[in-house]
């Protein structure tokens, strides 16, 4: 199916002088709204098992609508129930003794919502998972839509070495963390008519760590391969146009072994969410989960409840030899032509440049001295090397 994507690309490009992509808002019928969504899994690798219950929201106003007050129970194929407790945000958590979570054992979930709807999943069976094999990167470029513009960066790959007894269906979940720095410590600032000098320099908001779950779905089936092996499975690409690679980059790779039905579910989720909308666009797939509305069998319940086994691996990358970083740091410096008088009347903190003795009539944007504004936290993660 990759071929189709290429053709789309090709056509978009071939007709790039004539074709165009515009924003367009379709009108959605009212009866296509408001369905339950259940996502959850059982994983031996996790200490707590989580199930999430929510409602679908409209395309025009997308938001997470948690469903609280449900009673949620996980059940294994031996008939043992594991009740979960309501966290109040749509998530329900509980513990299952690892002895029950061996390959071959199956689990399902039972939910009773506050409006009296009974939701039940099919049983999903745990299969065994090989450890994460080597993860490495290669310096590559990605094409962009801009003329003559290439985005250089690193493409991460992972190999897979499975046993015959292992699952043939895999899903990678990637969580990235990077360290980044504000440009300067806080030294001088202006607030409500007064200029303050911070002594000593405040470095507390200069170093941040940002952690993100990469939303892309990475799936592999070795069903059609001769061995349960794969070389150079492409993971994420980290471009030089972000600040991820400046001071240190870490990737947490979680490899899950899925059942066939879970793989089909995720594969369809992946395909449906990678739509390019070109000339050879495919029919969107009907994503069939394994949850059923027992009370109203005609009403669909979205989502999947799976039983998996998994392994994780963390890697660190720094530095990248020869790679020029071209990111935007949102730090700009502006000289005050009339001096500090220009700031009169402002009721928020304005950071100023200066040396140990005096401040300069030069204003920093807040991003120059406060790294938390770009989404990171100043607490160093425990796994971060010194």
């Amino acid at each position: 199916m990759q071929a189709f994507k290429n053709i789309i690309w090709f056509l978009i490009a071939l007709f790039s002088l004539t074709s165009c992509i515009d924003s367009y808002k379709p009108v959605i019928k009212s009866n296509d709204k408001g369905k339950y969504v259940v996502m959850g899994n059982v994983d031996k690798n996790d200490t707590v098992q989580t199930v999430n219950v929510s409602m679908t929201s409209s395309i025009s106003d997308p938001n997470y609508i948690a469903v609280t007050g449900c009673s949620v129970e996980i059940q294994n194929d031996k008939g043992i129930n594991f009740p979960l407790s309501d966290n109040g945000d749509g998530t329900y958590t509980g513990k299952i003794d690892p002895q029950y979570m061996t390959p071959g054992s199956a689990f399902r979930v039972n939910i009773k919502t506050p409006d009296g709807t009974d939701i039940e999943s099919d049983y999903d069976t745990i299969s065994s998972c090989p450890p994460v094999d080597s993860v490495y990167y290669n310096q590559e470029s990605q094409y962009t839509n801009n003329a003559n513009d290439e985005n250089k960066g690193i493409q991460l790959y992972s190999d897979l070495k499975g046993q015959n007894s292992d699952s043939r269906y895999y899903k990678w979940t990637l969580t990235e963390t990077w360290e980044y720095h504000a440009k300067w410590p806080i030294r001088w600032y202006y607030y409500l008519g007064t200029v303050y000098h911070v002594v000593p320099d405040d470095y507390s908001k200069m170093v941040c760590w940002h952690t993100l779950l990469i939303p892309k779905i990475y799936l592999l089936s070795t069903k059609n391969l001769s061995d349960n092996d794969y070389k150079r499975f492409p993971l994420n690409f980290v471009g030089s146009d972000t600040r991820r690679l400046e001071y240190g980059y870490s990737l947490l790779i979680k490899l899950e072994a899925l059942s066939h039905s879970a793989y089909v579910f995720w594969e369809r989720m992946r395909l449906n969410n990678n739509s390019n909308g070109g000339l050879y666009e495919k029919q969107p797939l009907t994503v069939i989960g394994n949850l059923h509305n027992v009370t109203h069998p005609n009403i669909q319940v979205l989502g999947f409840f799976s039983a998996v086994s998994s392994h994780t691996k963390r890697i660190f990358i720094h530095p990248i030899p020869g790679l020029q970083l071209t990111f935007k740091d949102f730090c700009t410096v502006r000289a005050l032509r009339k001096g500090i008088i220009e700031l009169r009347g402002l009721d928020y903190i304005v950071y100023l440049a200066g040396n140990d003795e005096t401040y300069f009539p030069t204003v920093y944007t807040r991003e120059c001295v406060d790294c938390t504004l770009l989404g990171g936290v100043t607490d160093k993660p425990s796994y971060w090397p010194n």
């Binding site: 990759q2 071929a3 189709f4 053709i7 690309w9 090709f10 056509l11 490009a13 071939l14 007709f15 002088l17 004539t18 165009c20 515009d22 808002k25 379709p26 959605i28 019928k29 296509d32 408001g34 369905k35 969504v37 929510s54 409602m55 679908t56 929201s57 409209s58 395309i59 997308p62 997470y64 839509n145 003329a147 003559n148 290439e150 779950l213 939303p215 059609n224 391969l225 061995d227 794969y230 070389k231 150079r232 492409p234 989720m269 395909l271 739509s275 390019n276 909308g277 070109g278 000339l279 050879y280 666009e281 495919k282 029919q283 969107p284 797939l285 009907t286 994503v287 069939i288 979205l302």
Partner: protein
């Protein structure tokens, strides 16, 4: 002055009466005499002298075995293969080359302007016309047969032929209308037609679009043959007639012959200046075409349900460059017919329609060349006689040079890409009056390379040898030997670990024998046999490169034979009522070698449920399908200008496309029905009414149809055709139905002419096997991808002068069905989309206006080269028609977009040239 003398002579001759008794019959037994020996014998036997010039008859050899012929009839018989005419003059026989001796006094209403005669030594065709053409109402008379010649049950079998006066090419689909009997006939591909007439005199009207109508008086004496030459009207060259829904061929007022006078398709505005007859056909009701897709949808059918033939060669991929250009040169098309309601019994194998293209024969009289240059491609046609009037050739070639466009595009991936195509064809035509032989060869090829990521090659090639022969005046047969091949080769190296190469090949070998026999005045039979051998090599998906871990998959080979017998009768019940009834019975057998998997009963056909397998040996039938089709049509003429038609049509299809994208991709595989996948079939009923408004020269027709299709193949969601040779694991078969109403209003042969078509139609599919695994869309009915309820097209041509004309095409289509995302839900904090039921929504409506101006070079008679220019603007309003609407989840935000392939006006100038003057062929 010589011709003046002849003229006076003719005048005097016509005054002479011949009272002598020349009707005495003699017995004649000659074998292979020269004409002078023969004429000597005539004089000896009868005392009648024969006057002629030696050079006219030097090649004539006379063989007559007859016991009762007059001298005149004997001479006529001796000269029947020539154009020499025979008349009595003062008791003797006079031969004249081409000119009929006039034996009755013509009526003149004008003085004869003798001074205008030129000094040429022979009477030229135009002078002949001049001489003959001055009589209002009294028309040229053609004698068919000879007095006392054979007739059958009181009727004479008349075999006529219509040829182009200028090129000698046969004219097909010309109508012959006999005023007295209100009946008629239509010429076939070789220009022949057959009539059964009682001896007597008839007024016959010969008519075909683009030629001057001609009236002749037929003096039918006995079984006989004659040839009529029609002259082109002074309009543009290479006029291609698109026949909308050809249903019945009776006379010019018949609604079935939906001739759309594409006053040379050359004048219509075209994308990038490349003429595309398929796109023009899509302006007719019931035929839908969409921008950027290589398929047409006819009456709610899929794009694989149309059969495309070029001179009987089936074409499996009709598009160049993803469907933006047609895979054949429009310059070589002589006739283009579409059957979508009643499909004659000689056609079968596709559910929706037959697109039949007949190519032109080479010029029989002289060499000529023509061609054109557009911004993306150039084409050239060469043609001429090898032996004048009997053997000619035509060669056409076309190639693109579109790479320069790609090189202009700043993106590196595109700059390193290539897009090339070419096609060429060649034909040889041999024509003796009794036998026509045509050999036609065709080849088209496309190549795209997307940087070093992947590579596509595909192409068609084919050849056909068609031998037509007149066994007698009432029986014509044609025998076709056809070979066709379609194939593609792809290399995909996008991902190192799963890079692959794949090549696919389809071969089609066919023999077809077809006979047309006039049984009596009211019945014409068509019957024959059609045998096809399909050989499909679905290819091997091989790992590409050392790093590829892809498992090699052999998709397998397939073989199948279809043998069909067909017979149909065209029964003229009364001058007003015509009935066509036909039966076609096909036996389809997929053949071994084949390894067929059997699956556990009542479960999904998936590889994990295989219970057993059967191995079929080479050529052993895997299964036998008997496919009877009944075809019926009734045509009732209400009055001179209106008629009603009714039709019932059954079809079967054994070959279908593996395609789960909305458009037809260049690596589309075809697949035969097999052990598990049943052939699909359809039943269609249709009715139409036609009226011709004499005053305004406007024709209007309304058609309604209802069609049901069974075993309609649909592909499971996300089906891949590269992973397994067992396609049954990816296919479900369901039902489809389509219905609609089609309106066409058109005006022809006026300064402002054109047509307006409107169609309301639906096309719905249901795949419900009762379980989740054998249903699509939860088993509910859903609109097909090409369910387009409202379609309207307006085509206008304004002929300002002979040299300048303007054309426009306005197209409106309801938006195509689409499956939309309808809601958003969150998984791990990231949004995901939920999609609607299949095809529950529609993209925005499509609307486009194209304009063109065509400028012809000067009208000087004597010149070497004639030029013309076509300036066309595609999508003049620049409307951004949605090709698709799509959604993207970008950094947690869902954005919806529409993609327009052509969102700006495109101006192109095409230069077209030909040898000779404005009117030359």
């Amino acid at each position: 002055m010589k011709s003046f003398k002849i003229f006076t002579l003719l005048f005097l001759l016509s005054l002479t009466s011949y009272a002598q008794n020349n009707n005495k019959a003699y017995s004649w037994h000659f074998n292979h005499l020269t004409f002078s020996e023969f004429s000597h014998a005539v004089t000896q036997k009868t005392g009648i002298k024969v006057f002629y010039e030696e050079s006219w008859v030097k090649n004539v050899r006379v063989t007559i075995q007859n016991d009762s012929l007059t001298a005149l009839d004997a001479v006529k018989l001796a000269l029947q293969e020539t154009t020499i005419t025979t008349s009595y003059w003062n008791g003797d026989i006079v031969l004249m080359p081409k000119v009929m001796l006039i034996t009755s006094l013509p009526v003149y209403n004008k003085k004869i302007e003798v001074a205008k005669q030129t000094k040429e030594t022979k009477i030229t065709a135009s002078e002949n016309r001049y001489l003959k053409g001055r009589r209002p109402d009294v028309i040229k008379s053609i004698q068919v047969g000879y007095k006392g010649g054979p007739i059958e049950r009181g009727k004479a079998k008349v075999l006529g032929r219509v040829l182009d006066e200028e090129t000698g090419e046969p004219i097909n689909y010309a109508t012959v209308y006999i005023e007295e009997t209100k009946s008629g006939a239509v010429t076939d591909n070789n220009g022949f037609f057959i009539l059964m007439l009682s001896p007597g005199k008839y007024n016959a009207v010969f008519n075909i679009l683009g030629f001057q109508e001609k009236k002749y008086q037929l003096n039918v004496l006995s079984n006989g043959t004659f040839t009529v030459h029609l002259a082109k009207k002074m309009i543009n060259i290479k006029e291609v007639v698109v026949h909308g829904d050809r249903q019945m061929n009776i006379n010019k007022k018949d609604p079935g012959i939906e001739k759309i006078p594409v006053k040379s398709i050359k004048e219509l505005p075209m994308m990038m200046g490349e003429r595309d007859i398929l796109k023009v056909s899509a302006t007719l009701p019931g035929i839908i075409d969409s921008e950027g897709s290589s398929g047409l949808n006819v009456r709610g059918g899929g794009s694989d349900q149309n059969a495309f033939y070029i001179d009987n060669i089936p074409i499996y991929n009709t598009a160049h460059l993803f469907g933006f250009f047609p895979a054949f040169n429009s310059d070589i098309i002589k006739d283009f017919s579409i059957y979508k309601g009643y499909i004659p019994a000689q056609y079968g194998g596709r559910l929706s329609s037959v697109f039949n293209i007949t190519t032109r024969q080479g010029n029989m009289k002289h060499f000529t060349a023509h061609g054109g240059v557009s911004p993306v491609a150039g084409n050239l046609v060469l043609e001429g006689p090898i032996k004048k009037n009997s053997l000619s050739y035509i060669f056409s070639g076309r190639s693109t040079y579109s790479d320069w466009i790609l090189k202009k595009i700043p993106d590196a991936t595109i700059r390193n890409s290539r897009a090339n195509f070419y096609d060429f064809s060649g034909g040889l035509n041999f024509d003796s009056q009794k036998t026509q032989v045509s050999l036609f060869m065709y080849r088209s090829k496309d190549h795209f390379k997307l940087s070093d990521l992947n590579d596509y090659n595909y192409g068609n090639k084919g050849a056909s040898l068609i031998i037509s022969h007149n066994f007698s005046n009432s029986l014509r047969g044609s025998f076709s030997f056809i070979g066709s091949q379609y194939g593609f080769a792809t290399v995909d190296k996008q991902e190192v670990s799963s890079a692959y190469s794949h090549a696919y090949n389809l071969e089609h070998y066919e023999f077809k024998a077809e006979f047309k026999q006039v049984i009596n005045n009211n019945n014409t039979l068509n019957y024959g046999l059609d045998a096809i051998l399909y050989k499909l090599d679905r290819g091997i998906v091989e790992p590409y490169g050392v790093a590829s871990l892809r498992k090699e998959v052999n998709l397998g080979k397939e073989k199948g034979v279809v043998t069909s017998l067909f017979v149909s009768d065209n029964y003229e019940v009364s001058p007003r009522l015509t009935l066509m009834a036909g039966v076609r019975v096909a036996l389809f057998a997929p053949l071994g070698p084949q390894n067929v998997y059997l699956y556990q009963p009542n479960g999904p056909m998936e590889l994990q449920y295989v219970s057993d397998s059967i191995l079929f040996n080479n050529n052993q039938p895997v299964k036998k399908y008997i496919e009877p089709d009944v075809r019926l049509a009734v045509n009732f003429k209400l009055d001179e200008n209106s008629s009603i038609k009714l039709a019932f049509n059954q079809m079967h299809q054994n070959l279908f496309m593996l395609n789960n994208t909305i458009s037809v991709a260049p690596n589309t595989q075809w697949k035969l029905a097999d052990y598990h996948i049943k052939p699909s079939r359809s039943n269609q009923v249709s009715a139409g009414i036609f009226h011709f408004f004499n005053k305004s020269n406007i024709e209007a027709s309304v058609d309604v149809y209802y069609k049901e299709e069974f075993n309609y193949p649909q592909f499971k969601d996300g089906a891949s055709f590269l992973n397994s040779p067992h396609i049954e694991t990816a296919v479900l078969q369901g039902k489809a139905k389509a219905y609609g109403i089609e309106v066409l209003i058109k005006r022809t042969n006026k300064k402002l002419d054109g047509w307006l078509s409107y169609t309301y139609s639906r096309s719905l599919i249901q795949v419900n096997g009762g379980d989740v695994w054998n249903s699509i869309n939860y088993g509910l009915v859903y609109p097909s991808n090409y369910d387009v309820p409202h379609v309207a097209n307006l085509v206008l041509n304004y002929h300002l002068s002979r040299r300048i004309s303007f054309s426009s095409i306005v197209t409106y289509q309801s938006g195509r069905p689409v499956t939309y995302p309808i809601s958003v839900y969150y998984v791990d904090g990231y949004p995901y989309l939920e999609y609607s039921k299949r095809n529950a929504y529609r993209i925005p409506d499509y609307f486009r206006t194209d304009l063109s101006m065509s400028i012809e070079g000067n009208l000087r008679r004597k010149k070497f080269l004639h030029n013309s220019l076509l300036i066309s603007v595609y999508n003049i309003t620049g409307r951004k028609n949605a090709y698709s609407v799509f959604f993207k989840t970008d950094n947690g935000r869902i954005e919806s977009y529409k993609y327009s392939v052509i969102g700006v006006p495109i101006l192109t100038v095409t230069w077209v040239f030909k040898l000779g003057n404005y009117a030359s062929e």
